[in-house]
């Protein structure tokens, strides 16, 4: 196995996870469960394809993708914060909605039930190993930037406060709802960028192209103990396992299905606390009365 190709492939697989997990971390640290990462990624991928297709510019596609994620993130925020709907139910509804909406509009816009036409993308210079794609850099920076915001800025302190002790935060004048709205909106845009990367990297949208990546990102958030940098490490680790599986194809030492299970099994083990318990933010999921 060639180490350079192993590293670059791992990185390429990790980028969507890095975006989505960062989105998951900020929403969950504010106290909102984000089971909808999968749907946000899918929406981002589709909006980016639409934007790129009609403008010819991948940058417009990036903006469209962010916009799509923002809309779905805001739906999630309004439903759970304003209407106090159950966060788990809303997350699942958004995932279903995203599948339905992208399929419906795929049919409407491109008269296809499987994929869009080819669209422009970034980079493509083989010698650059993917580093000529600005989204790769953004994905790599997402977690450190988020960590800086969460731990080094007043707004980050507020996010963490409303996720742990909303009443205490409210008593010192923090608007709990406003902080959560912003956190969920940012989460929508970040997760959508994961989908944007996928669509532009593959130069098209295909039906359900996120294929469970949003759930791996959730696994990374939990395995990373709701910390941006640790979640990012989990993303890289999961991506490395996947790369190993791809590069070992044909070499049936371990069936691929068992390698697929790794992120999910590790998450359960982390939650059960066999090696240091994963403890969620105290107010996670508690926006209902």
């Amino acid at each position: 196995m060639n180490p350079i190709s192993f590293l670059t492939q791992t990185l390429r697989i990790a980028i969507p996870y890095l975006f989505a997990a960062s989105g998951g971390v900020i929403a969950e640290r504010s106290g909102i469960i984000s089971l909808e990462l999968e749907g946000l990624m899918l929406t981002g991928a589709f909006s980016a394809t639409l934007g790129t297709h009609y403008s010819g510019s991948p940058w417009i596609g990036v903006l469209a993708g962010i916009g799509g994620g923002l809309i779905f993130g805001l739906i999630h925020a309004v439903a759970t914060i304003r209407y106090r709907a159950d966060q788990v139910v809303v997350g699942i509804a958004i995932n279903l909605l995203a599948i339905g909406v992208t399929r419906f509009f795929l049919k409407l816009a491109f008269a296809s039930s499987s994929n869009s036409p080819r669209v422009a993308g970034f980079g493509g210079n083989a010698a650059a190993h993917g580093f000529d794609n600005p989204l790769v850099w953004m994905g790599l920076l997402a977690a450190p930037v988020l960590a800086f915001f969460l731990y080094r800025t007043p707004f980050g302190l507020r996010v963490r406060a409303v996720g742990e002790h909303p009443d205490a935060a409210a008593s010192v004048g923090v608007s709990v709802e406003k902080v959560r709205y912003i956190a969920v909106a940012v989460s929508g845009m970040l997760a959508a960028l994961g989908g944007v990367f996928l669509a532009l990297d593959q130069h098209q949208f295909t039906d359900q192209m996120t294929s469970g990546r949003g759930f791996i990102a959730i696994a990374a958030v939990i395995f990373g103990r709701w910390d941006p940098m640790k979640a990012a490490l989990a993303c890289l680790f999961f991506a490395a396992a996947e790369t190993l599986q791809i590069q070992l194809q044909g070499n049936q030492l371990i069936p691929s299905q068992f390698i697929e299970m790794i992120p999910y099994a590790l998450t359960i083990i982390a939650l059960a606390g066999v090696v240091g318990r994963a403890i969620p933010p105290a107010a996670l999921g508690k926006t209902g009365e």
């Binding site: 709907a85 159950d86 419906f104 959730i218 697929e260 999910y264």
Partner: protein, 354 residues
């Protein structure tokens, strides 16, 4: 009807009605975005489902699976637990039913083989449900995340078993069962000819009756609902909350597992990769719209089955994906209107000069 019952009924019925209205409006917009007339498309949707025997048979078939998964999810919610694992419990149940049907000698009569397959299905689903129940009670691991992760693990495991050991070459399914098939409805009512509807529907209705009895007429069910409403108070009242949680997850998984019988014993007669096809997730919608009551669950299962079959009926005019959008809209609208409706009704009922 006592005023208390009426109030409960109002709180239960308003959110689904609001959701239906919202879904109709969204449907109108989607249909018009495709340049079609909503009236025509809705008429086609009804004609293709409740308007002819084949379509109705397909609705009954789809509603059967959804009744099982809806009951499974609602039983969990009654205990204060969210079972997002119905999808893999359904698959595990169908798989084990198929394996038993495959392993038994063809000489074993259906009257013995079918119950054995049912037990296998319940055990398969029950095992997948029991694990998150145990992890929650023993380690406090949140059942939502554990069941989501288990979905992927169990489905991957089943895929591996089928691919490595059990599949018919060039397919993703196991060989046909040798005994234990459940007859189709068409064998009695010939009008259902060609539809997948089968007698598993009676098992589904029996299960609904069982869940009703268990929840509302048995001591264990009373404990379960008490834990769902107020775990601390229930514990103080002498109920073992952990025991209830473990039992609820196990029974929930068993019910979802039984649902696999509809496809494996009643329709295709083999286990196939991906046969669950989202029915487990839709069970969450069914439980939510059915307001976690067995009667509501059966009605909601019919509603979602009608939508899903109706999508095929309108496909020539509007892409069938429209119904997937509407499913999401209905779930979202019910989830958003439940707390709101409760607040509005309670405000309206409050005596003016309290």
């Amino acid at each position: 009807m006592s005023s208390r019952t009426r109030e409960q009924l109002e709180e239960a019925l308003f959110p689904p009605l609001v959701a239906l209205l919202v879904a109709l409006i969204c449907g109108d917009l989607l249909i018009m975005s495709y340049g079609q007339s909503p009236a025509t498309v809705y008429r086609l949707l009804l004609e293709g489902t409740w308007g002819n025997a084949y379509g109705f048979g397909q609705v009954l078939y789809k509603a059967t699976t959804l009744t099982f998964t809806g009951l499974a999810v609602s039983l969990g919610i009654r205990a204060g637990l969210f079972n997002v694992g119905a999808e893999s419990q359904l698959a595990a149940g169908g798989f084990l039913a198929g394996v038993v049907g495959l392993g038994l000698s063809p000489a074993v009569p259906g009257l013995i083989a079918v119950p054995l397959c049912l037990i296998a299905a319940a055990l398969g689903g029950g095992a997948v449900g029991a694990l998150p129940g145990w992890l929650k009670v023993r380690f406090g691991a949140h059942e939502v995340i554990v069941t989501i992760m288990l979905n992927f693990i169990v489905l991957a495991l089943l895929n591996w078993i089928v691919a490595a050991h059990l599949h018919v070459p060039e397919t993703l399914h196991t060989p046909e069962i040798r005994t234990g098939s459940v007859p189709r409805l068409e064998s009695v009512i010939s009008a259902f000819h060609g539809s997948a509807a089968n007698f598993t529907i009676l098992i589904a209705l029996t299960t609904a009756a069982f869940v009703w009895f268990y929840l509302f007429r048995s001591r264990r069910g009373f404990e379960l609902r008490a834990v769902g409403l107020q775990p601390d108070a229930a514990e103080y009242g002498g109920v073992s909350v952990g025991g209830v949680w473990f039992r609820a997850m196990t029974v929930s998984g068993m019910i979802a597992g039984l649902g696999g019988v509809n496809y494996v014993l009643g329709y295709k007669h083999y286990y196939e990769e991906g046969f669950a096809g989202g029915s487990g997730f839709l069970g969450i919608a069914v439980a939510l719209v059915g307001r976690n009551h067995p009667v509501g669950v059966v009605l909601a299962a019919l509603f979602f089955a009608t939508l899903s079959q109706g999508g095929l009926a309108i496909h020539a005019f509007v892409p069938k994906q429209m119904v997937e959008v509407l499913q999401g809209v209905v779930i979202l609208a019910v989830a958003m209107s439940v707390p709101e409706v409760r607040a509005v009704l309670r405000r309206a009922r409050k005596p003016v000069a309290a």
